[in-house]
C-alpha cells in the first residue's frame, strides 16, 4: 500500500517568523547599535529648485561638542546614476550631496554627524543653505512647455524620455469602428509608506578590510553591487545585511544615495555611522509613486467588440531617474500592460516620463498597473454605457478565453481564469446590483457597484529586463539548500522577506520535495554573506521564482537521499519515495530509513555511502522568469453607498476573485491580497502627496497624508480560482502586488454607477464626491 503524505504546499501553515515579531525581540535597523557610533542627520533643501551659492557650516565651530560635516564639495563625483540604454533617454545624475543645484525639496545638501542623534539633529539645523531660486517645473503642462528651461544641464527639454509601442493595424480599427470612445484619466501622486522608515548603518573594519552595511532594503545584493562600483571596493569585501525590515512595498526596492553615502562616511571617519530616516524625510524625499495622466481612445464595432486602442501616457517622474528601474519604468510599464485581459489586435501608445521639481518617482506596489488598469477599466465602463450594454456583458464579450494567447504587443499569456472570474463575481454581486438599481433616483442615498478586471504580469525575469534595457539587468532568484547531519535544512535564499512570510512558504516548498517537516527548515535571507546573489524581493516574483528555485534545489538533494536509501535497502532510486521524515520503498512503506539517518551518513558516516558518491547534501538552483512572465488574473468589485447631501462615501463591500496559480499557503495569500487591497483603497479614496505652485510639499506628516484606518474599511472578501501555470515548476504565479491594482478602478466605477457621472480622477475624497454629486442636489458642479 502507498503512504499518504500530507502536502505542505497548499496548507494553511502558521508563520514561523511570527513569534519574534510578536514578542518584541525582532531587530530592525534602528536596533542595530554599535559602540563608538556617529549619528547622521541631513541638512536638506528647503527650496524646490535653486542654484546653491553657499553651504555655510561655520556655526558648527562653536557648537560645543564634536561634529563632522560634509557637503557636495567633499564627496568628489559620487552620485546616483540610473540610465535606460536607449538613444531617446536624457540622463540625470544626482550627486549624493547636492553640488551646484537643488532640484526638489528634501534633496540632501549636507551630512552632519555627531555622537548622539539629538545632537546631530541640532547641528544640522545650524547649517545654512544659501540658494538663488530658479524657475520651478511643477505640472505636466509646465514640463512640456518649451519656454520653461530644462532642470538639468545640457537637456533639450524636461522630458526624460518619450517613446512608442505599437502592434496591428490601428488605422483599420479606426476605419471599421462604429463607436469611438475617448477619455482622459488622472491618478494622483502618492508614496508607499512602510511603517518603518528607511535607515542605514555602516562599519568598516580595517583588520579584514571588510565594509558591513545594514540597510532597511528589499535588495541587499544590488546595494552591494552599487556601493562596490561607486566606491571602487571589491564586492567580496562588502557585506550588506537587511535586518528585520518593517515593510517595503517597493519603496525600499531601489538603491538610494544614502546607502552609498553612509558607507563612504564610515570609511572616511573610520567610525560606525548610523542614519535613521524620520517620517517627514520619508514622505518628502524617499520615493514617490503613480502621478499618471492617460488619454485613451477605443475603437469598437457595432456588435460591441473592441477593435483597437490608442493611448497617450504621461507620468511626472520628479527630478531624478532612480536605480535600478529608471525614470522610464512607470510610463513604459503603463504602455506595455494597457491591452490587459481583452482580445484585440490593434494598439498604439505614446508614453513619456516628464521631469519636475518633485521627489523622484520609484516603484510602489503595482508599479504603473494601478494607473493603467484604472484607465482601462474606467474606459470599459464608459464604452459599455455609450453602446448601451451591461458592463459585465461587455467585458465577457471581449475577454480572452483561449490560452496561450499572444497579445497585440507579442506577449504570450499563460492559462488563466479571466471569464470564469467575471462570471463568479457577477454571481456573488447579484443582490448588490439589484439593490443599487433601487436607489437610482434617490436624492439621499445612492448605492453603486463597480468592478475592475485585470491581469498582472508576474515572475518577470531576465528576458523582460533585457528588453527594457534598464540597469536591473537580470531577474533570476537563487536558493542554496543544505541538509545538516541531523536532517534539518538551511536555505540561503536570494530573496529578502519583509512581511511576505517567506521563512514559512519557502520551508513548505522544501519540505514537500524532501519529505520532511517544514519546521525543520530554516530560511536565511537578507544577508549577502549567507545568501546566493539575487536581485531581491519585488515585482511579485518571490513565490514563483523563489519557490521554484527552492523546489528544484531541494529535488537535487532528494535525488541523492534516494540514491543512498536505494543502496541500503537494496532497491532502485526510482522506487524510493520521501515522506513523513522517511525514505521508503514506494510499494512497501514498511521498508524505510529515516531521512536524518541518511543525512548523517551523507555528512558523517560516509563509509556507508554507495561507492564513488561524493559526501555532502548541498544544492543550489537559480531560476529565471519565463520569456514573458506568468500572468495572474483577478476581478475586484466594490459596493459603495453615497450620502448625497454630504458626499460621504461608505465602502459597504469589497470582493476579490483572484487566480495566482498554485497557492503555497492560503493564510499568506489572503494576507497579501487583503493588504494590497487596502493600499489600493488608500489610492482610491485618501492618499495624496500634494505640492503647491512652488513645489513645496504640503502633506508632510500623517496628519496630512491620510491612509486607510480600520473603521473606514469593510472585511475584504477573497475567493480563489487556481489555474497552475505550466511555466513554473510548482505552478505558482506572483501575487504580492495584485491586491493594490484593482481597488481604484473598482471604486471609481462604483461611484460612477451610483451617481451616473464620469469619474476620471483619484483620489475620491469627500470633497471630490460632493462635487461629483452636485447635479443630484440640483447644484451647478
Amino acid at each position: 500500500m502507498k503512504a499518504e503524505n500530507p502536502r505542505q504546499i497548499g496548507a494553511r501553515v502558521q508563520r514561523f517568523e511570527d513569534v519574534r515579531l510578536l514578542s518584541g525581540v525582532a531587530r530592525y535597523i534602528d536596533d542595530i547599535r554599535l559602540p563608538n557610533c556617529l549619528h547622521l542627520t541631513f541638512a536638506r533643501s528647503q527650496m524646490a529648485h535653486g542654484r546653491i551659492l553657499d553651504v555655510d557650516t561655520s556655526a558648527l565651530e562653536d557648537i560645543g561638542y564634536p561634529t563632522w560635516v560634509f557637503t557636495g564639495k567633499d564627496i568628489g563625483d559620487l552620485s546616483m546614476k540610473a540610465h535606460q540604454d536607449v538613444p531617446e533617454m536624457q540622463y540625470s545624475e544626482q550627486p549624493l550631496l547636492a553640488r551646484d543645484v537643488v532640484r526638489f525639496v528634501g534633496e540632501p545638501v549636507a551630512a552632519v554627524l555627531a555622537e548622539d542623534p539629538y545632537l546631530s539633529e541640532d547641528a544640522a539645523e545650524m547649517v545654512f543653505i544659501d540658494c538663488d531660486p530658479l524657475p520651478v517645473v511643477g505640472t505636466m503642462d509646465q514640463a512640456r512647455d518649451p519656454s520653461i528651461p530644462p532642470i538639468h544641464d545640457g537637456w533639450k527639454s524636461n522630458v526624460f524620455i518619450e517613446r512608442q509601442m505599437k502592434g496591428g493595424d490601428l488605422e483599420a480599427a479606426r476605419a471599421n469602428a462604429a463607436y469611438v470612445v475617448r477619455r482622459t484619466f488622472r491618478n494622483q501622486r502618492q508614496t508607499g509608506v512602510p511603517m518603518e522608515c528607511r535607515g542605514v548603518v555602516a562599519q568598516y573594519s580595517p583588520g579584514d578590510r571588510m565594509l558591513t552595511v545594514w540597510s532597511s532594503t528589499q535588495m541587499p545584493h544590488l546595494v552591494r553591487t552599487y556601493i562596490s562600483e561607486e566606491l571602487d571596493l571589491p564586492e567580496s569585501r562588502i557585506r550588506v545585511i537587511a535586518p528585520e525590515v518593517g515593510g517595503g512595498f517597493g519603496v525600499k526596492g531601489q538603491v538610494f544615495g544614502e546607502e552609498v553615502l553612509v558607507a563612504w562616511l564610515a570609511m572616511k571617519t573610520q567610525r560606525p555611522v548610523k542614519w535613521i530616516e524620520d517620517r517627514r524625510e520619508n514622505l518628502i524625499a524617499s520615493i514617490h509613486a503613480r502621478d499618471h495622466a492617460h488619454t485613451l481612445e477605443a475603437y469598437v464595432s457595432k456588435e460591441g467588440r473592441l477593435l483597437g486602442l490608442w493611448a497617450d501616457i504621461s507620468v511626472d517622474v520628479g527630478a531624478y531617474s532612480t536605480f535600478p528601474f529608471t525614470a522610464a519604468g512607470d510610463p513604459g510599464m503603463a504602455a506595455k500592460v494597457m491591452p490587459g485581459p481583452y482580445d484585440f489586435q490593434a494598439y498604439e501608445a505614446t508614453f513619456r516620463a516628464l521631469a519636475s521639481n518633485k521627489c523622484p518617482l520609484g516603484t510602489y506596489r503595482g508599479v504603473a498597473r494601478p494607473s493603467a488598469v484604472f484607465s482601462q477599466e474606467r474606459l470599459m465602463d464608459e464604452i459599455a454605457k455609450e453602446i448601451g450594454m451591461d458592463p459585465i456583458e461587455f467585458r465577457l464579450k471581449n475577454i480572452i478565453r483561449e490560452f496561450p494567447y499572444k497579445n497585440v504587443l507579442g506577449f504570450t499569456y499563460d492559462p488563466g481564469s479571466y471569464a470564469e472570474s467575471l462570471e463568479k463575481i457577477r454571481e456573488i454581486l447579484a443582490d448588490d446590483i439589484a439593490a443599487a438599481r433601487e436607489t437610482r433616483h434617490s436624492k439621499e442615498k445612492r448605492i453603486g457597484v463597480g468592478l475592475a478586471c485585470f491581469i498582472e504580469q508576474t515572475a518577470h525575469g531576465t528576458p523582460d529586463f533585457t528588453r527594457r534595457r534598464v540597469p536591473i539587468e537580470t531577474g533570476y532568484i537563487a536558493a542554496r539548500v543544505e541538509m545538516q547531519p541531523d536532517g534539518t535544512v538551511v536555505i540561503g535564499l536570494g530573496l529578502q522577506s519583509h512581511g511576505q512570510g517567506l521563512e514559512t512558504t519557502m520551508a513548505q516548498v522544501a519540505a514537500d520535495a524532501l519529505g520532511i517537516d517544514p519546521k525543520d527548515v530554516f530560511v536565511r535571507h537578507g544577508d549577502t554573506l549567507t545568501s546566493p546573489y539575487s536581485v531581491g524581493t519585488w515585482g511579485s516574483r518571490g513565490g514563483p521564482l523563489g519557490g521554484g528555485a527552492v523546489h528544484l534545489a531541494s529535488l537535487k538533494i532528494a535525488d541523492k537521499l534516494k540514491a543512498i536509501a536505494a543502496h541500503q535497502l537494496q532497491s532502485n532510486k526510482d522506487q524510493i519515495s520521501l515522506g513523513g521524515g522517511k525514505a521508503y520503498i514506494t510499494d512497501d512503506p514498511s521498508r524505510y530509513i529515516p531521512i536524518r539517518t541518511l543525512a548523517r551518513q551523507a555528512l558523517r558516516n560516509v563509509e556507508n555511502l554507495p561507492e564513488g558518491m561524493i559526501p555532502g547534501l548541498e544544492a543550489e538552483y537559480s531560476l529565471d522568469g519565463p520569456r514573458d512572465g506568468t500572468y495572474s488574473n483577478a476581478v475586484h468589485a466594490a459596493v459603495v453607498e453615497i450620502d448625497v447631501p454630504t458626499g460621504k462615501l461608505k465602502l459597504k463591500r469589497f470582493v476579490v476573485v483572484e487566480d495566482c496559480g498554485t497557492i503555497i499557503n492560503p493564510l499568506v495569500v489572503d494576507g497579501q491580497v487583503r493588504g494590497g487591497v487596502v493600499q489600493g483603497i488608500g489610492s482610491a479614496l485618501f492618499e495624496h502627496m500634494i505640492y503647491d505652485e512652488q513645489c513645496q510639499p504640503l502633506t508632510t506628516s500623517f496628519a496630512d497624508y491620510l491612509m486607510p484606518l480600520a473603521p473606514e474599511l469593510p472585511n475584504i472578501e477573497v475567493h480563489h480560482i487556481e489555474t497552475p501555470t505550466p511555466l513554473n515548476p510548482i505552478g505558482a504565479k506572483g501575487l504580492g502586488e495584485g491586491g493594490a491594482i484593482g481597488p481604484a478602478p473598482a471604486i471609481a466605477n462604483a461611484v460612477s454607477d451610483a451617481l451616473g457621472v464620469e469619474v476620471n480622477e483619484t483620489p475620491l475624497t469627500l470633497n471630490a464626491i460632493w462635487r461629483l454629486s452636485a447635479h443630484i442636489r440640483g447644484e451647478a458642479s
Binding site: S23, G24, G246, G248, V677, A710, P711, L713
Partner: protein, 163 residues
C-alpha cells in the same frame, strides 16, 4: 538634566535625563528594549504604544521626565520570548501581522481592551473592534487579520469561562 526613576518591564533605574528626551528613546536606548517602535514620532500611527501605569500611551509624545516614578510596560512584558499571551497567539493564527513593525503598538492598545471585554463577558462587533484600533496604522494586513485576532482572543476566553 533631571533625575528620573523609571520602572520598565519590572526593572527600576534612576537616570539623569535631559528633559527633551522622548520616553520611546529612553526605553529603547537606556533599557535596551527593542519592542517599542517609532513609526511617525508625531503621535498618529500608534507604533510606539506602551502602558504607563497600565494605560496605553504614545511613548513618542511623552517625555521620559514626565514618567518619574511610573511603571512602564512594553510588548516584552506581555508573553515573553515565546509570545504566549492569548492575543499574541491569536495574531499568529489569524495572520494579524506581516512585517511586524506596527504589531507591538497594536498589542499594547488591544491587551487591556480584550481584558476588559472578557471581564464584562461582552463580544464586541467588528465595528467596535475597528473603532478600538482606529489610533493604530497597519500598512500590511488591511486590518482584517487583526480584527479576526481580537474576535478570536475574546471568544476563546469567553468560551473558556463557560466551560
Amino acid at each position: 538634566m533631571t533625575q528620573t526613576t523609571l520602572t520598565v518591564n519590572g526593572q527600576t533605574r534612576t537616570l539623569e535625563v535631559e528633559p527633551r528626551r522622548l520616553l520611546a528613546d529612553i526605553i529603547r536606548t537606556e533599557f535596551d528594549v527593542s519592542g517599542v517602535h517609532i513609526g511617525c514620532a508625531h503621535g498618529v500611527c500608534g507604533c510606539c504604544t506602551v502602558h504607563i501605569d497600565g494605560i496605553p500611551r504614545l511613548s513618542c509624545l511623552t517625555f521620559a521626565v514626565q514618567c518619574d516614578g511610573k511603571e512602564i510596560n512594553t510588548v516584552e512584558s506581555l508573553g515573553g520570548f515565546d509570545a504566549t499571551h492569548v492575543l499574541q497567539q491569536a495574531f499568529k493564527s489569524e495572520h494579524g501581522l506581516q512585517c511586524g513593525y506596527c504589531t507591538p503598538g497594536f498589542l499594547m492598545t488591544l491587551a487591556p481592551y480584550v481584558e476588559k471585554k472578557v471581564a464584562n463577558g461582552e463580544m464586541p462587533s467588528d465595528e467596535e473592534i475597528r473603532e478600538a484600533i482606529s489610533g493604530n496604522i497597519c500598512r500590511c494586513t488591511g486590518y482584517h487579520g487583526i480584527v479576526a485576532a481580537v474576535r478570536k482572543a475574546i471568544s476563546n476566553q469567553l468560551e473558556g469561562q463557560q466551560a
